[in-house]
Amino acid sequence: MITRRHWIVLAFLAGLLFLSIFATVTMGSTRVALDTILSDPTATLIIFELRLPRVIAAVLVGFGLAVAGTAMQGLFKNPMADPYILGTSSGGALAAVFSLVFLGGHGQTLLAFIGATMATFLVYTVARQRGRAPVETLLLSGIAVSLLLSAILTLIMWTAGENVHRIFAWLWGGFPLASWGDVGVASLILVGCAIIFVYARDLNVLALGEEEATHLGVNVERFKQMLLCVSSFITALAVSISGIIGFIGLITPHVMRLIVGPDHRILIPASMIAGGLILLWSDTMVRTFTSEMPVGVLTAFLGAPFFVYLLRTRMKA
């Protein structure tokens, strides 16, 4: 049941995000005071053409990664799952790198989406037996397909010669070149998040088990296909904008579940906002204090130890 405490947490997170957006646009390698934004043309340019699109893109990608992660964890009934495990991001990354190396970067977003969706459906098809894809087989076929895709990616990079540095920078992810065009693409993430939110109660029921969910009126196979499709759509958008950024999709739902509980009607919006917050501040850190270190490095540095800590406390409990 949804309680008042849930609403308070959501309102707090939303307020925090709102304030963070204001705070982070003033931060960066050039400090801009809020009162000069409109009077000083350089400041206007920095804020509206460089920082604001970058801040919004980071928030939207954070939204998407967290919601896709929450959906996958609900689907797999396993708090250690996320869309990367399904091979979705490997597929997207492979297709985007292909475009970088062979097409001079043309059609990167579209290709990433096609690659991510194809990888997900390949995983699903491999796992499917007689119209059903049990979760265990799905996880294993996800690992198998990911390994294959990584190998092909390595092969392409090995043949790429002087482009390797560019590919590496892109793969590790970040928003240094984020534009309003990217924000336009990223806003589609909101559509995906909304679709998943509509099915929040079905995700709750799925936690009882697939047969149980069927008995409670959920068409489980169709629901799983829908979830896979929408999460790979979200993941592909995120990958094509910022490359592979790890741990947001894994950690955020995990932490929020400890705070608001497992009910997806609250967990999805709470994870979404928290994911946006984490990625926004991570990106602000790397652009303010480093010379554009890939943000994926920071999220991995923060996320991995935290994940280990969670794992240990879970094992003790």
């Binding site: 396993n78 708090p79 047969e211 149980e212 069927t214 068409n219 497992p262």
Partner: protein
């Protein structure tokens, strides 16, 4: 209400799990599905709950074919209680019970007051209210199963399918939960898989006995739970009694020990008042050829003899033994290698059973005593029986004390009777 019509289920298209299975269930009935492991019980239940779809044939609920009913509509008609549920996230008990309302709540709506009231009522019926705010993973397995049952009840189903719903519960909760289902009888059609045959016999009006994917018997518990079916399908020897209170059958399995004797001896048993039943079971199992009598037809020893198929001479109650019966007894004693007399109460009515033994000097006579028995007081003839027993003992009748002693004595007798051993 439910018609199962020639359904076939097979894995990999080859091994048939269910073959051409058909039956129908009336509205409000309580049906039990029984059968040994691997007989197809759970498969049948999963077919009725639409988890598995039959290769051919169909399941119909109220005339509608299962495959054509939308999932949400089916969930409002049919509730399922599985054997076991693993829930990986820490939902509260209240949340889990409320999930039973899922098929009634519109996509973007929340639970209404009515939904919450229905969930509360389901929790009250299953005695789970006190856990309502605890995590489903914190409570014990039995408590969790009651929560899952509450969830199924919150669905307000017209049909309930139970897959060994009480196998994880202790006996008091088993009865409590089965009583809940029993109270729904008439409004809710219940089909359950049961392992405990006695519980199935007690609660179900109709039993379906499955073996190797086929219905072996279908009918009232008394029709289905016969000694013959138990032996043929479950491969056990069992006594089927009739509960004196409910009239339903109940089963006492005979746990077979290794048979040591081939039982070449023919033994005539003189017993009564229930003192011979355990001996009949034991000796019968060891393979002795038994005869018994004369017994009164309402003696429980007679019931045991009839069950085990032991030839027995009988008399109607409240009368002395008639000459015809005595004549039959003489014939049986003449054929017996040994006579076993239990510590039965002796009165005027059955005194002739003992008196006749005076004439059989050559046949070994064994008097059975139990160390735990009350001892004196079995003579209701004013000393006549005592006198006869003393005479038999004086002539060499052996007295054995307890089952082990009896076993040894009979083995000795057998050896003595076997010429090869006399060598």
């Amino acid at each position: 209400m439910i018609r199962v019509d020639h359904i076939d289920i097979s894995y990999d298209g080859a091994t048939k799990i269910l073959a051409e299975l058909s039956f129908s269930v009336e509205r409000g009935a309580f049906i039990g599905i029984i059968g040994p492991n691997g007989s197809g019980k759970t498969t049948l239940l999963k077919t009725i709950s639409r988890i598995l779809s039959p290769m051919s044939g169909a399941v119909r609920i109220d005339g509608r074919e299962l495959a054509s009913i939308p999932y949400r509509d089916l969930a409002r008609t049919l509730g399922v209680v599985p054997q076991e549920t693993a829930i990986n996230f820490d939902f509260t008990v209240m949340d889990v019970v409320l999930m039973g309302r899922h098929p009634y709540i519109d996509r973007l709506a929340s639970e209404s007051k009515e939904d919450i009231a229905i969930a509360r009522r389901a929790m009250a019926m299953t005695g789970t209210e006190q856990f309502r705010d605890r995590s489903i993973n914190e409570i014990s397995g039995g408590e969790r199963q009651r929560v899952i049952i509450a969830r199924a009840l919150a669905q307000e189903p017209k049909v309930l399918l139970l897959d060994e719903p009480t196998s994880h519960l202790d006996i008091s909760h088993q009865i409590e939960i089965l009583n809940i289902f029993k109270n729904l009888e008439g409004e809710v059609t219940t089909i359950g898989v049961f392992h405990d045959l006695n519980l199935a016999a007690h609660y179900c009006d109709t039993l379906i006995l499955l073996d190797r994917g086929e219905i072996q018997a279908l009918g009232s518990p008394a029709e289905v739970l016969t000694r013959d079916h138990l032996r043929r399908i479950f491969h056990i020897n069992a006594t089927v009694k009739k509960s004196p209170r409910t009239g339903k059958p109940y089963i006492i399995p005979i746990i077979e020990e290794d048979v040591l004797l081939t039982g070449a001896l023919r033994i005539h048993l003189i017993c009564g008042g229930g003192t011979g039943s355990d001996l009949m079971h034991e000796l019968h199992q060891q393979g002795y050829a038994l005869t018994a009598g004369v017994l009164c037809i309402n003696d429980s020893d007679y019931e045991t003899a009839a069950e085990l198929g032991i030839p027995c001479i009988t008399e109607p109650p409240f009368g002395a033994i008639r000459p015809d019966s005595l004549h039959e007894l003489e014939t049986m004693l003449g054929c017996a290698d040994a006579v076993l007399v239990t510590d039965m109460p002796v009165g005027r009515g059955n005194l002739d059973n003992i008196r006749i033994l005076e004439r059989y000097c050559a046949t070994p006579i064994v008097l059975f005593a139990r160390s735990d028995a009350a001892g004196p007081g079995r003579d209701f003839t004013g000393g006549e029986a005592e006198r006869l027993f003393a005479l038999l003992k004086a002539r060499g009748a052996a007295t054995v004390d307890g089952h082990q002693d009896l076993r040894n004595t009979l083995q000795d007798l057998e050896r003595r009777g076997d010429p090869a051993e006399q060598g």
